[in-house]
């Protein structure tokens, strides 16, 4: 079977869509992180806008609700001087039976230059990227369980900010990894940037053995998983897991896998604690840790705007 070209890159290896961190060359990744640093300093100016996307229309196409993520993309696009249109698809024509591609075609006819898409099904942004006109760019804001690349990038930025050197780190990801696009993107980012030890921590129903194929060490014991870790990423536990016979209760999850101060003491003294948000206090993380000195959860949000500005300006500047 002939190799398929990564749809995110043009023929010159430049990024034209951001669909997943997987398959991105290392230098593309580091360039986005470096550019994010620039935009972080723009965020500290009085005039926080730059004209890079002026005149461009960015359509936020969220098939899955998320006010937080959508808002950070909106802020990022506006800081690049783009016009932003938010589409809440659950209440619009798609629920009347219009297909995904028809929705895209209609919006493209309204001169959309960039689609930021969040969809419940893995792979949806790839289908969209295959069908948009050459000058239109697609950013994946989360597709099913598959990827959340801007979150992965901002997580990498956060780690780089606090830890500098990836090559010596131990990173533990705790929680519902099998259903987590955040975890998958983080794992890919960490691998590309050369992190030697990535641990996936959780019960067998949420962290199955075949995750090892992604290059992680599977741990079913939290203590073993976070011992001597430099970075702990706690994932949100969703209520649906209880109904799918994957877990008996949130309380039981917290008993074995909740990030408490006592457990965190097993990690390195200068370990940082991350979480993609929103946090469930008392489920995956307790308040003392979430609000404590190790937590970098709020800086992650600030970095997220700069990273999204970097992603959008990078892809907008590259032709298909």
């Amino acid at each position: 079977m002939p190799a398929r070209r990564n749809p995110q890159l043009n023929a010159h290896g430049e990024l034209i869509h951001l669909l997943s961190i997987e398959g991105l060359p290392r230098d593309v990744l580091t360039q986005i992180l470096d550019t994010a640093g620039t935009f972080l300093s723009v965020g500290e100016r009085e005039v926080k806008k730059v004209p890079l996307l002026r005149g461009k229309s960015v359509f936020n196409l969220f098939f899955e609700n998320s006010t937080r993520t959508r808002t950070t993309f909106e802020i990022a696009a506006k800081r690049l001087s783009a016009d932003v249109i938010n589409l809440d698809i659950a209440r619009s024509s798609t629920s009347k039976g219009e297909s995904l591609l028809d929705t895209i075609a209609n919006l493209s006819a309204m001169q959309a230059d960039m689609f930021v898409v969040r969809h419940a099904e893995s792979g949806a942004p790839y289908l969209i990227a295959q069908h948009v006109a050459p000058h239109v760019h697609v950013v994946n804001a989360g597709d099913g369980r598959h990827a959340h690349p801007t979150q992965g990038l901002l997580d990498m930025y956060t780690i780089r900010h606090y830890k500098r050197d990836f090559s010596q780190l131990t990173v533990a990801i705790v929680g519902d990894i099998v259903h987590s696009r955040v975890a998958r993107s983080a794992i890919h980012g960490l691998s590309v940037l050369g992190v030697p030890e990535i641990r996936a921590v959780g019960p067998k129903t949420l962290v199955p053995g075949d995750l090892a194929a992604m290059g992680v060490r599977v741990c079913h014991d939290l203590a073993e998983g976070i011992r001597d870790a430099d970075v702990v990423i706690a994932l949100r536990l969703q209520n649906e897991r209880m109904s799918g016979a994957l877990l008996p209760s949130a309380g039981e999850f917290f008993m074995s896998y909740g990030l408490t101060a006592e457990r965190l003491a097993l990690a390195r003294p200068d370990a940082i604690v991350m979480h993609p948000g929103p946090i469930n206090r008392g489920v995956e993380i307790d308040s003392r840790v979430a609000d404590g000195a190790h937590s970098v959860i709020l800086p992650q949000v600030t970095f997220g705007i700069a990273v999204r500005m970097a992603v959008m300006s990078t892809i907008a500047g590259n032709a298909a």
């Binding site: 002939p2 297909s99 591609l101 099904e121 598959h146």
Partner: protein
């Protein structure tokens, strides 16, 4: 019409013949098969020049969806039977999951009637095992059998109630009917991709191997208990193959088939969420594929099927998990059978058996008198033939396919699927059902 097929190399897996021989056809039957390399003297109204071609029995495909009843307004039966003929398929079995389901004799009769009128390919419908395939109430199997059903099945819908399944097998075996079952557990089989590194990486809901093996264990137990004949449709895993091998070794009356997709591809072929690779059963890992290839070679798996399903673009241009499973296959079956045979190092009489006489053996008595000559070339038998060029390389692109189903995991977007081996002409009951680049009757083939 009196037809002479001249100068071809005859390959008949049933008898093991593989030698140059002419074939004389009259009144829809083979009247004479020549001696090796001795031209036949026959007064023909039409001569088909088969020099450089192989002449084999028409292919017998045990699984091809025609989507009729249901899609009459789209001309499905016409296009799909034309596709069958273009693929060299002269007999096919279609599953009962039509719309409405094939659980009424009238629907079966109508389907057979319409197919007969088109004279392209013989259609042998499978009847529904339970009403509306709901797995609760038995269908009138005797009536359906009289109407033309050659067996009974549930297509892809598992019977959840084991009591019903047991009773269905008992009832069917009373009359010697074969029950066709997909070994897939109802609850475990809900995912869209095979469990493994690819599904994990792509974040797709997974179907574990135990979905197949648990179902197989259950089916084998029921066969032991009822001695019903069961045909296992679409094996997909090495573990499944092992269970079937053991069941056959024990002498249980089971047969099995595998699709062209599972035989050649793996989950890696999903690539970047290519919905053409959205299939039931899902494509598994290469170790499973290797086991399926070996099993088809040693006879554990009896037949290779196209598993043809003309899924439309609207149903495929969706995110992977939402896309309808299925792929076009009738026009690829022969080339892919040849490819498998070549890669396994098998002679043509062995590899082509899996798409001719072996599927006929699976159908058993259900074919009635036709069973004596379907899937083979025998004097006095039906003149269902396929003439093909085994070496011709061609690329399957949507524009070339006669089927309305244009999606196949063997093709990469616009690049098409490269294949070796192409049908030149197909005869059904002594009538030319398909001829490539139709030439005026009697004109010689260009050199």
């Amino acid at each position: 019409m009196r037809i002479l097929v001249r100068g071809g190399r005859l390959v008949d897996p049933a008898s093991g013949r593989d030698e140059p021989a002419d074939i004389a056809i009259a009144s829809g039957r083979i009247v004479r098969i020549g001696r090796a390399a001795q031209p036949l003297e026959f007064d023909a109204e039409r001569t088909l020049d088969a020099r450089g071609l192989l002449v084999m029995p028409g292919l017998v495909d045990l699984a091809a969806r025609l989507r009729e009843p249901g899609r009459e307004h789209e001309g499905m039966l016409e296009s799909e039977l034309a596709a069958a003929a273009a693929g060299g398929v002269t007999s096919l079995v279609c599953p009962p999951d039509t719309d409405p389901v094939l659980d009424e004799p009238g629907l079966v009769e109508m389907l057979k009637f319409r197919a007969r009128k088109l004279s392209r390919c013989r259609v042998f419908p499978l009847g529904a095992l339970t009403r509306r395939l709901e797995g609760a109430v038995l269908t009138e199997m005797v009536e359906l059998s009289k109407a033309g059903c050659i067996g009974f099945g549930q297509a892809d819908r598992a019977v959840r109630d084991t009591m019903v399944l047991l009773r269905a097998l008992q009832y069917a075996s009373t009359f010697g009917y074969t029950v066709w079952l997909r070994p897939q557990d109802a609850w475990l089989g809900g995912g869209v991709a095979a469990q493994g590194a690819v599904a994990t990486r792509l974040g797709l809901s997974a179907v574990p191997v135990v979905a197949e093996t648990i179902a197989l264990h259950g089916i084998v137990e029921l066969v032991r208990a009822t001695r019903a004949r069961v045909h296992l449709a679409r094996l997909s895993s090495a573990a499944g193959v092992a269970l079937v091998r053991a069941a056959k070794a024990e002498g249980l009356p089971v047969t099995a088939d595998v699709s062209i997709n599972s035989l050649h591809l793996s989950d890696a072929d999903i690539g970047y969420f290519d919905a053409s690779a959205r299939l039931v059963p899902p494509l598994r890992q290469s170790a499973d594929r290797d086991a399926l290839r070996a099993a088809l070679a040693d006879g554990t798996i009896d037949a290779l099927v196209s598993d043809h399903d003309p899924v439309g673009a609207d149903e495929k241009n969706l995110p992977f998990a939402e896309a309808e499973p299925g792929a076009t296959g009738l026009e690829l079956l022969l080339a892919l059978a040849l490819r498998w045979g070549r890669e396994q190092g098998l002679p043509l009489v062995r590899s082509l058996a899996r798409v001719t006489c072996d599927p006929v053996r699976v159908l058993g008595d259900a074919l009635g008198p036709l069973g004596g000559s379907a899937g083979r070339l025998v004097e006095g038998g039906v003149a269902d033939l396929c003439l093909f060029d085994a070496d011709e390389r061609w690329t399957v692109t949507p524009g070339q396919l006669l089927s309305q189903g244009k999606h196949t995991p063997f093709a990469h977007a616009s690049a098409g699927a490269p294949l070796e081996g192409r049908v030149c002409a197909t005869l059904v009951a002594g009538t030319v059902a398909y001829e490539r680049g139709s030439r005026p009757a009697g004109a010689p083939r260009p050199a």
